[in-house]
């Protein structure tokens, strides 16, 4: 059985770091905060690796099947008997895998930041926020309750907000953090309503019970939920689809991806941590967590997931070919790769060999974490060196930054899917799964993989080749040891992670899956990848005017892609024009003028009436006497003639 204390410590240590540095960092730990944070995370990483070893090799397998363990569960808030938010820890193959990924990448970022953020005024705050983020992400991964995952989901969102807006005096950073938070919040609304629907149908918030109830077709819950329909879809379909919207928001799936490129305003190590390896895959993780429900009960939603992933993958790849900010290229490439993971889940089925897509998705998540974190950290080193994000300010850096150059190349090869680097294996599995289940998605994915190779090498050549020598006069070194160490470690990971027999450990139903390797099948994607690399070599290896000519000949397509297909503008139009001007402003006006106007009208009417009557109060005694007398006379007349 898993050791609850050890597993609980994995998220709690970063939390302790957050509290310690957040409360006392400014004064007491001003200089040592980085080391404290890193040391705590190192401990977490070691514990996570230990847990992974124990789980995968010691106790995890019962009768040849990987089981889920819940070593601890505390009731946090009880709504009614059976329906409660529990703080539990679910230990199974995907959560353990994620524990390793999150702690490892976070540790790399912690180490890297020791050099990258050195001399920053809010150094300790930075490490505090890192701790908070890592804690939330680990909590999310370990969640055993759908509401628990929502709680950590939101916490991840806010710590990402804090980190993106770390340079809070930069208006663009503030705007980007706001955008990221609001867009994901909008998606979380879907998630929340989805939770309400699912919990109401299944009568529980606990993942296991919920999955068990909702996947058995004979259960009453499924029957009633299937009959009650809204807009032509059953309640369960709606619930599952809405939960996916939440996942799509966090994972920057089309059309909720607009926050991700802007989020690059944060410090670069943050992008490596949050926007490459951890938070953005939370959506994939969520779908994987609820995978049995999607695959068994609502396959229609799974189909949608597949298409959303495929569309995101190709759109992002096209946009990435035109961007000039290196971090934005990486951001779009992240979106594209997560699209891969998403549609891999979408084309998968539950259990056995047909669950290949599930394994492939998790495998790609794992390898992607390695090479994408590496790419971001490498980009960070480059930015650190040239003090610019723009490609045009770079070029010919290979001589000045040999380690960065080498590791960046490895990562590019990995993401392009060139054997024997990590990306090749996972991507090949994804393509195979797609080929077996949905040919249309397979073709989209194939084209995307060619595009991926092209834009990644466009990036690579523009940074490290292109111009013959670097034009920036000052040349401080490539970066300190602490910045190079993570690059090397992640480089090793990106090169070698593919050889892990992933299917042995992670599969949709816990049964080990044999790794396939079809040589003929790999020919097409690898050839396309090589073609993409050659195209990039031809266009960008030397400084020339070919790219400009190509862009001109593509005309409006290039322009549309360069402007991110105007999706941002559409959103801006909806929020600014419609929500602010057509809803917000009228609501505020209505309140001040109509609702409050009615209240004031009551007051004013009363006042006007009294203004009218007060004229009778003239102060002239004799007038009063006349009123009195006439009153008496009228009354007397009434008494005499009417009420006799």
């Amino acid at each position: 059985m898993p050791n609850a204390t050890i597993i609980a410590l994995i998220p709690l240590l970063p939390l302790a770091g957050f509290l310690l540095l957040g409360l006392f960092g400014r004064k007491i730990f001003k200089n040592s905060s980085g080391l404290i944070g890193t040391a705590l995370l190192l401990t977490s990483t070691v514990l996570a690796l230990y847990t992974a070893y124990e789980y995968f090799f010691v106790y995890g397998k019962v009768d040849g099947v990987y089981q889920q363990f819940i070593p601890m569960k505390l009731t946090w808030l009880e709504f009614s008997p059976g329906v409660s938010i529990d703080m539990g820890m679910a230990v199974d193959s995907i959560s353990v895998m994620m524990l390793v990924v999150v702690t490892f990448v976070s540790l790399m970022v912690h180490i890297y930041s020791l050099g990258y953020m050195k001399g920053e005024e809010r150094f300790s705050t930075y490490y505090a926020f890192l701790g908070l983020f890592t804690f939330s992400m680990l909590g999310l991964v370990l969640s055993s309750n759908i509401f628990q995952i929502y709680i950590f989901w939101e916490l991840v969102g806010v710590s990402s907000f804090l980190l993106i807006g770390f340079y809070y005096d930069k208006p663009s950073a503030v705007a980007a953090s706001k955008k990221a938070f609001i867009v994901t919040r909008f998606a979380d609304l879907g998630f929340l309503v989805g939770i309400l629907i699912l919990s109401n149908s299944s009568g529980t918030l606990d993942f296991n019970t919920m999955i068990a109830t909702l996947t058995s077709p004979d259960s009453d819950a499924v029957k009633t939920a299937a009959t009650s329909s809204f807009l032509g879809a059953s309640a369960l379909t709606w619930g599952a689809a809405l939960v996916f919207i939440g996942g799509a928001g966090k994972s920057a799936m089309f059309p909720l991806h607009i926050w991700l490129p802007d989020a690059m305003e944060g410090p670069t190590p943050i992008s490596a941590l949050i926007h490459a390896a951890t938070m953005v895959v939370a959506g994939v993780y969520l779908v994987a967590r609820l995978f049995p429900i999607y695959a068994i009960t609502v396959p229609a939603v799974l189909e949608i997931i597949g298409w959303v992933g495929a569309i995101s993958a190709i759109i992002a790849a096209i946009i990435a070919c035109t961007q000039t900010d290196i971090k934005r290229v990486l951001a779009y490439s992240t979106m594209s790769q997560i699209g891969y993971m998403m549609f891999a889940l979408g084309v998968s089925k539950y259990g056995g060999e047909s669950g290949l897509g599930y394994t492939a998705s998790m495998f790609h998540l794992f390898t992607h974490a390695m090479f994408k974190a590496l790419l971001f950290l490498g980009a960070g080193a480059v930015i650190h060196y040239v003090h610019s994000n723009e490609m045009k300010d770079m070029g010919g850096l290979r001589k000045y930054m040999p380690i960065t150059h080498l590791t960046f190349l490895i990562a590019c090869l990995a993401i392009a899917g060139i054997p024997p680097f990590a990306g090749f294996f996972s991507k090949e599995e994804i393509l195979l799964a797609a080929y077996q289940n949905n040919t249309a998605i397979y073709w989209v994915a194939l084209i995307t993989s060619g595009l991926t190779a092209f834009y990644m090498f466009r990036l690579y050549f523009s940074i490290f080749w292109n111009k013959s020598h670097h034009t920036h006069g000052e040349s401080h070194g490539e970066g300190s040891f602490v910045m190079m160490l993570p690059l090397v470690l992640l480089g090793i990971g990106a090169a070698a992670a593919g050889f892990i027999p992933f299917g042995e450990f992670v599969s949709s139903d816990g049964n080990p899956l044999e790794s396939h390797f079809h040589l003929q099948f790999s020919i097409a994607p690898v050839a396309l990848g090589l073609a993409g690399i050659l195209a990039a070599l031809w266009l960008y290896a030397k400084q020339n005017d070919k790219p400009a000519k190509l862009a001109a000949s593509l005309g409006s397509l290039y322009k549309a892609a360069y402007h991110k297909f105007y999706i941002d503008d559409i959103y801006l139009f909806i929020t600014k024009r419609i929500l602010f001007n057509l809803v917000g402003r009228p609501a505020a006006w209505f309140d001040r003028n109509v609702v409050d106007g009615l209240i004031n009208l009551t007051g004013n009417t009363t006042q006007a009436v009294s203004e009218g009557i007060k004229k009778m109060q003239s102060g002239k005694v004799q007038q009063y006497a006349i009123y009195f007398l006439s009153g008496v006379i009228i009354l007397a007349a009434l008494f005499i003639y009417i009420w006799r």
Binding site: K614, Q617, S618, G619, K620, V621, Q622, A625, I626, L629
Partner: protein, 104 residues
């Protein structure tokens, strides 16, 4: 020779009452208004006495009421005149038109 009956007395009292009312409503001098009030009160007194004599000759209620009213009228006159004097001190006038400071 005809004895004056109840109606004669009531006629006089009514006349007295309306003279009083007329005086109260038209005169601007507070003292005159006070005198008009006395006329009204006296018309009431006359009524009381007359009704007592003609309707319940054996009883004294009407007479007692009359005495009460005379006493109260005296007290009222004292208070009223005190008010009027104070008003004269502050306003240098006992014209009722000038005493309207207490409106609204």
């Amino acid at each position: 020779m005809m004895q004056p009956g109840l109606y004669h007395i009531l006629f006089i009292s009514a006349a007295l009452f309306f003279i009083g009312v007329y005086g109260f409503l038209t005169r601007r001098n507070l003292i005159t208004m006070l005198m008009s009030i006395e006329l009204i009160l006296n018309s009431v007194n006359l009524n009381f006495i007359a009704f007592n004599k003609y309707l319940w000759p054996g009883k004294l209620d009407g007479l007692f009421f009359t005495l009460f009213i005379i006493a109260i009228a005296a007290a009222e006159a004292a208070v009223a005149i005190a008010i009027i004097i104070n008003l004269y001190r502050s306003h240098q006038s006992i014209d009722v038109e000038n005493a309207e400071d207490l409106k609204y």
